[in-house]
Symmetry: C2
Subunit: 224 residues, 2 copies
């Protein structure tokens, strides 16, 4: 798995950046430090000025790579979903049994992230936290329709489609495969947030994982 992914660049929509951050050391530093900084101070408090000093430079350098922090967030979350998609595809493609395949997919989506040394400048553990806390903000905007048309959310939607296909393979008679797939992914993020901040409205915790909840849910919803 690691070798396979080793040479793979996770591809992100070209219009999300002005200059590909993967193409230079400075670009990688921007990505690396933005992940650390957004985690530390939150997306609202995050500015290119602060990022500039985090990379030992100033804002003008960052602006050469990204138009604004919204685009940078779209870049980071797209990368995350692209990475998740690869994991999903590689880890499930050899599974023939539809039921087992979907269960594996749910497990992958819900599984706590552990450090992946394949992409040295990207801390996937922290990036996952950014996705939990900030991904919604990337589409809950007035510009969502334009940006969707532009294709900025296509990796995310493609991932949902992959899950949807797996759902449909388990139970072709089920009428809500898309909604279930989008709900599974959304719920994996939402329950992770609740576990951390609103413990009283979730059953998920150190002992009960989100995948326990969702595996049970899916097993009951779909006919085999």
């Amino acid at each position: 798995m690691k070798q396979l992914l080793g040479n793979l660049k996770i591809s992100v929509h070209e219009k999300l950046y002005l200059k590909d951050p993967e193409s230079s050391a400075l670009g990688k530093k921007i990505i690396e430090q933005s992940i650390l900084l957004i985690n530390e101070i939150g997306f609202e408090g995050f500015t290119f000025k602060k990022l500039g000093s985090a990379i030992g430079s100033n804002e003008s350098s960052v602006y050469r790579y990204f138009e604004n922090k919204h685009k940078l967030l779209l870049y980071l979350t797209s990368w995350y979903w692209g990475w998740m998609e690869y994991r999903l595809v590689f880890e499930t493609h050899s599974i023939a049994d539809p039921d087992e395949k979907l269960n594996k997919a749910i497990e992958i989506i819900c599984r706590p992230i552990v450090e992946d040394s394949t992409y040295v400048h990207i801390n996937e553990v922290l990036l996952n936290k950014i996705v939990v806390n900030e991904f919604s903000k990337s589409y809950l905007t007035k510009e969502v329709d334009e940006e969707n048309k532009e294709g900025y959310f296509s990796i995310y939607k493609r991932l949902v489609h992959r899950v949807e296909e797996m759902v449909a393979e388990v139970d072709p008679s089920y009428h809500f495969s898309s909604s279930l797939a989008s709900t599974l992914i959304e719920t994996s993020l939402h329950q992770q947030f609740l576990k951390e901040h609103f413990k009283s409205i979730t059953n998920c915790n150190d002992k009960v994982s989100t995948s326990d909840f969702l595996l049970d849910l899916v097993s009951k919803i779909l006919k085999k």
Copy 2:
């Protein structure tokens, strides 16, 4: 129902405002116009300066009621969940059958909002749209733990608890009643968003409602 609610003031956490907007004509105008304006230009573009001119005054007047726009958003969404809670309680309290009661609750949560003339200065249809588009932003912040401790999200959490209780009454053996309840409410908002902006990853549309999806889901998950 209307008469019953007619004299009822939906109560919102006192610390969310500096001066109770329900206590004056100007305060009500602030609430009324903020709902219109946030809908029109989105929460990011919304400022107290713009709100000031919308109410025919200026920002200083608004600042006397709310510390900042984040608190105002918390006020609006709390009001919405309080209003939803009343509807839920009144419309379900006379239902004895647990199954029927939970189904009614889901229907209430998912049902498209229609104008409610009880609260003249509050446009519930638009407020619902604000909740769909902006509610997440009210808790996806660095300050969520403090604000949660302060009680700013208690109405929302109480609503989830009410749904949870209904779930538990239908099937006491079900292990994930809290997570299911929070997922039902979150999904009602999320699918409403998808229906509008990311149609390809939902089955919900003009013909198929979100409650169709969730009623089916719950009926399969819970043992009767």
